[in-house]
Amino acid sequence: MTTASLTGADATTNVPLKRRLKRAERARQLKAFALVGPLLLFLLFTFAGPIAGMLWHAVDDREVRQVLPQTVAALAGWDGKDLPDEKAYAALASDLQAARAAGTIAIAAKRLNYAQNGFRTILFSTARNLKAAPEAGTAKETLGKINPAWRERSTWTTIKGASGPITSFYLLGALDLVRNADGAIVAAPPDQAIYREVFARTFLISLGVTALCLMLGFPVAYLLATLPAGRSNLLMIFVLLPFWTSLLVRTCAWIVLLQSKGVVNDSLHWLGIIDEPLRLIYNRFGVCVAMTHVLLPFMILPLYSSMKAISPAYMRAAASLGAPPLTAFLRIYLPQTLPGIGAGSLLVFILALGYYITPALVGGAADQMISYFIALYTTETANWGLASALGAVLLLATVLLALVYGKLVQGQQVTGGMKN
């Protein structure tokens, strides 16, 4: 739309200018939207959709009601105080026979086994031994004879607890909590309560790696920003070269360096500094070293770009006004690099939270981060509910941290980091 067309075609019609402007505006908006449309669709399909799917999986609980519909219906009115009545037993018998014919028992068995170990066997053996539908009024007796578990109240509360359609079971599990037979939320048994510890470990390792990256990256970025162009470009290549190397290659290189007969240990031994090889790998130390190395460029690059923008005149001015070097650095230079420190730290921290390959290869059994468990439950044991719940908790914690960080950094930038 050009101004010429406004005076030409539209001038003959008596459309008010305001409306014509609006129309032109709308056309422009549509054009802009058409330009970002493909990206928006792409993000919806590849990012928002899967995340929503994951969150849904964390609460979705329709497996048992699909397989044992009559039982779930019969238990709907059950108060959970004593054993359910004959009707529920008959419903279960009929459900099990139908499920056995359809080959769907495993789906319910898997879900119930999460809540009560051994339920898989109870369900399969009951279905196998239930030769014919029990005669009217004898279902309770028959099922109890086949497996004494059916005489326990807890067996039935497990089924009721898993009757869906949505559940808090997985999310509670991800926080080491369970519901007891009366529906109250209590701490999980100590030998199964591991996830809080794993989350804490994940955040601790990420925090440590971020701090190490900042300590190592700050001087390097400063050097890059202050050297003359030729030499700084050469150094920049040294920073970028590992950045372009595959993560797997860099992790394996650390194995070669750090193992007990590796380069580091052999050199120290040859120099006579140690007699016994140091344990540098398959422990927390190895994880921190390898992850710091892998993530260092993500810290250096934002720092470098923020330092590049700082004029050296500021430091000279501070010195000429009598500030000692340390004061000048703390009061003048450091505050101006804060956006770079913030961006670099957040980037490294959030990337570190999701690390999987590096800890898996150079960590011990006690150094596996939360992604290891998410991967384990997703692919190996196919407990998608728990995997999604762990993912949801991680996502929530990360978003919260990012928000807190945003608040902190905003406050800093308004005053340039100095208390006026």
Binding site: A27, L30, A34, G103, T104, I105, A106, I107, A109, K110, N113, Y114, N117, G118, R120, T121, P190, D191, Q192, A193, I194, E197, V198, R201, Q259, S260, K261, G262, Y282, A360, L361, G364, A365, A366, Q368, F373, L376, T378, T379, E380, T381, A382, N383, W384, L386
Partner: protein
Amino acid sequence: MMKRNIALGFAAAFTASAALATVAQARDLTVVSWGGAYQDAQKKVYFEPFKKASGVAMNDESWDGGIGVLRAKVQGGAATWDVVQVESDELAVGCDEGLFEKMDYTKIGGEAAYIKPSVNPCGVGAILYDFVLGYDKDKLKDAPKGWADFFDTKKIPGKRALRQGPKTTLEIALMADGVPPKDVYKVLATDEGVERAFKKLDTIKGDLVWWKAGAQPPQLLASGEVVMTSVYNGRIDTANKNEKKNFGMVWDGALFTLDSWVILKGSPNKDAAYKFLDFAGKAENQSKLSENIAYGTSNKDAAGLLQPAVLKDLPTAPDNIKNAIEINVAFWLENIDKLTERFNKWAAK
């Protein structure tokens, strides 16, 4: 504006029709296996000869296992695979969940042609292999005799490696503690048995390194990082043959398991898949596989076609399988989640 709308509409129609076309287009038979030296051997004795003999167009891919992957393939409606080699627990769970076609044995030579543990309603056995105790003969003067020596740090000092997680680890701990192989799962099914296994693991906790992928144990041995490790028997054999290593194996108390071929539910290439499985099930073809890589195979007559020199290094050799136990799939299906949590709790202590 109008013109652009037409263009957009055309683009949308074009992508939609392109998508439909790819769905409707018949694809070649796709066979998926474990990669590495094993798949190279399979290419040599199964895939290439089969293509030549039958004229069926097929390609092969590799994967790292995980029932979740198969579930996503089948339920996601994007099953780009036809025949997949799966581990025993994947076979059991996938069969229960209806992810695989029922195996029609009449098309692959009949059930009688295969050894008993390899016949399953949803799949047919491909190979039988062991977790064995592996060590480096060049570094250890006294060869370990079994899992008890694995836990004896006085007799054999140094670090050892086990597979990360409870599976195989707890069985090994119990055998080391004197439980006869045939009773391992009976003991492990009790709380006291689990306690006992972890208590035994406590005794060498400081000397344990954990491996996660089958390629790691030979590397750990080769680099001298550990003196002993649990390892797939085929990997030891490959390291000895291809990298001139001098690794030894202890067959006593080995844990064996089977991998099976399955046909994914709804495969459009079922006929070609059966043709392939028939070819890969024949004794003369299977014996060639064992000559290339040290795995036992599922056809009853395959072992009889082998040289004694080859047979003695196979898991299916009578002497080697005498004191081995089959990894109990049913037990692990029921207990893997709880024992994994328990294992990680123990590891973090």
